[in-house]
């Protein structure tokens, strides 16, 4: 049931996204209250399925969920054509770009060793140079600090990775995700999460608009 997102890579996802907008504009009756009620009920039901799913199973990447979300986006867009609202548009943009952008996004967990550069599909290799766990007096970890070397086209770039402080490199974002807990600062490896999300700026814009809309609803 899980969708093979590769099939929807750019420009297919953009075409589908524009079709949603076109359908919403063309079929004005979609903006009725009844359609919105049904779409909301379906989306809540779909989210509840995910809410009760056992761990790891991802209902949100399956056809039923995506069809329900697409339907919700179409009805919402149709209502926005009739009556614009900042929060509604922000929500629409974030969900629209979030859903379609999944097809072009890559999120990979990579094991980075001290000895040799990683061999992955990424356009650059990574090697762990130094790893430090700084601790509080109680022994609890205060900071994880990984010094990694990124090798791209023969050039080496040394970067410091910390939790909450990702490194941006050639259109990718690199996050410190894990290390060898049993060895602490002597860890022979760290695990990084490498993401590439070309649509993320649209999601970001949607979130900002929605925040603005929420603020507007609060003060009015």
């Amino acid at each position: 049931m899980t969708i093979n997102t590769v099939l929807f890579a750019f420009p297919v996802n953009l075409i589908i996204g524009l079709s949603i907008v076109f359908a919403a504009w063309r079929f004005k009756s979609l903006s009725s209250d009844r359609h919105m009620t049904v779409a909301l009920f379906l989306l809540i039901a779909a989210a509840l399925v995910q809410g009760f799913m056992p761990s790891q199973a991802s209902f949100t990447r399956s056809w039923p969920f995506v069809i329900v979300l697409t339907w919700f986006l179409t009805v919402l867009a149709s209502r926005l054509f009739r009556r614009f609202s900042l929060a509604g548009f922000g929500l629409w943009l974030a969900l629209w770009a979030g859903m379609l952008g999944t097809a072009d996004a890559s999120l990979t967990r990579v094991l980075v060793h001290r000895e040799e550069y990683t061999q992955t599909e990424l356009p650059f290799g990574m090697r762990l140079e130094d790893f430090q766990v700084n601790r509080y007096q109680t022994g609890e970890p205060m900071e994880y600090r990984a010094q990694i070397i990124l090798r791209h086209a023969g050039l080496e770039h040394s970067k410091t990775l910390r939790v909450n402080h990702p490194v941006h490199f050639r259109g990718y974002q690199v996050y410190l995700a894990d290390y060898d807990i049993s060895k602490g600062s002597d860890s022979d490896y760290c695990i990084v999460m490498v993401t590439r999300q070309p649509w993320r700026w649209l999601v970001f814009a949607g979130i900002l608009l929605m925040l603005g809309g929420a603020f507007k609803i609060f003060i009015l």
Partner: protein, 262 residues
């Protein structure tokens, strides 16, 4: 200041809160001045304890469930006070007092004691806004829940104007809490939204509140339906806040700071 002092501050605040509730509902005094003074004093005393705990722990007390309960009691009594000042429902303070006290009592029996350190993932400028905004919205939405229950029990009560204002403010804050969390998640875990159990239940809760607003808009006279949808949304909020920990997939949740290492 430590958790040992909690019971002292809580007792003093409780006396003030009860004094405020009693003067409000019996109106033994002419004006609301005494009520507002008593109740504000309770809020201030409880806030002082949280501030003291913050200073002595050298980190914001927002990490454990027990610590978020402190904020919840504080914001619940504060939003009860705001509701009273604005709409003068003489029974609202009694209800918010009872709810605040439930969480105070849970904290007296099971305080959220934790190492006085902040793990790396929580060391972020998003941390304080994300949690306090959420706690404040929970408190406002709890007030709307109380109003809805009261209206179901006693249909003659006209609570809709208050529910309207409070739920708007509550959902605005809830939305802000969720979106600040999304921005933080991108910074720290790599994606805005990963369908983590807590995120999923926040999403469900948010949608249920949107459904409530939708019903209120298209069926303004279906009072029962409006109140029931509001109550359902608040029940979902309980799963989002702490109930999700008892669901099978919760151990994998990135939000489980009381058991996770990082």
């Amino acid at each position: 200041m430590t958790w040992e002092h909690h019971i002292i501050f809580a007792a003093v605040a409780t006396v003030f809160w009860i004094a405020g509730s009693v003067t409000a509902s019996t109106q033994v005094r002419k004006g609301p001045v005494w009520t507002i003074s008593f109740y504000s004093a309770g809020v201030v005393v409880y806030a002082a304890y949280i501030a003291g705990l913050w200073v002595s722990m050298q980190r914001p007390p927002l990490m454990t469930l027990g610590e978020t309960r402190l904020w919840y009691s504080l914001f619940l009594s504060l939003s009860g006070l705001i509701t009273y000042i604005r709409w003068r429902y003489k029974w609202i303070l009694s209800l918010t007092t009872v709810m605040s006290l439930v969480f105070v009592a849970v904290n007296v029996l099971r305080p959220g004691i934790h190492e006085q350190v902040l793990m790396p993932v929580l060391q972020s400028i998003w941390f304080i806004p994300h949690v306090t905004v959420y706690m404040f919205s929970y408190a406002l939405l709890a007030c709307t829940f109380l109003l809805a229950v009261a209206a179901l029990v006693k249909p003659s009560l006209d609570v809709l104007p208050a529910i309207d204002k409070l739920s708007r403010a509550g959902l605005s804050f809830f939305t802000a809490g969720m979106l600040l969390g999304a921005l933080w998640a991108k910074q720290s875990w790599g994606d805005y939204w990963t369908w983590d159990p807590k995120e999923t239940w926040a999403g469900i809760t948010w949608l249920l509140y949107v459904l409530f607003f939708h019903i209120k808009e298209i069926r303004p006279r279906a009072r029962k339906l409006i109140f029931v949808s509001l109550i359902l949304a608040f029940l979902s909020l309980q799963i989002c806040w702490y109930g999700f920990q008892y669901l099978p997939q919760a151990s994998r949740s990135l939000h489980n700071y009381e058991t996770n290492v990082h």
